[in-house]
Assembly symmetry: C2
Amino acid sequence: MNIVLLCVGKTQEAYLREGIREYERRLQHYISFKRIELPDIKNTGGLTIQQIKEKEGLLLLKNVGIQDCLVLFDENGTTYSSKQMSFQIEQHLSKGTKSLLFSIGGAYGFSPQVYERAQAKWSLSALTLPHQLVRLLCVEQIYRCFTIIRGEAYHHV
Amino acid sequence: MNIVLLCVGKTQEAYLREGIREYERRLQHYISFKRIELPDIKNTGGLTIQQIKEKEGLLLLKNVGIQDCLVLFDENGTTYSSKQMSFQIEQHLSKGTKSLLFSIGGAYGFSPQVYERAQAKWSLSALTLPHQLVRLLCVEQIYRCFTIIRGEAYHHV
């Protein structure tokens, strides 16, 4: 299985880039993982929030293949414990999902078209978090899920 | 009101220290905030997890005054949205709480004595997260709460 993390916009903060790279480095030992950061939508023409979300959504969906399973990280998604999340990923491994795409929206969230295409919505927290910080949480958690799947020791650290 | 964040052990990762400092810098505009990192318990004598937690707990409680309000960040705590969390903090501001202490435990969590002393347990996420990464989430979220209390624009970024 391939795992892809699709993000809207470049990761601005150097400290977040560093943390994300650290967990990606660890994750490579378990699974083929790729992070795609879509270009930011330049709001030079005074676009509305709705229009920005739609443009971001179209760009995002260009990176989703017909057979890909798309999971959105979304405040209103299903809340899982780390064990439950690892079980969800394990299910995809055992049913032969070829590409599992996780996506984190931009500052304003996803467009209706993206919600329509997605197979699932998962919530990392009931709190509103900066979408760029969510990337760090997300790679850490995918890494943690694989240590749980393999029965390794990281879970308590 | 003073806000204190009591953590068990030094923050190891440079990227986390950088992120934490960034939000602390922003937070200083709203409230008196101090982070205390307690020394790590050296496990040279082959202590059990229970013994480590108890030693950490005693050290932690030495930093809690009789009139301080102690809130633990704990996986089994109450789940709040950012707005609900900001409301909780606002309540402390209006009822005249002098010191609001937030605490993040070590790798194994809190000792029974710490749970007994605490006024409340709040959960940042149903997921298990590295306790050092939780520090970053925590300062970001306290900062966000103050932007919500002040009706400022950060909430959607």
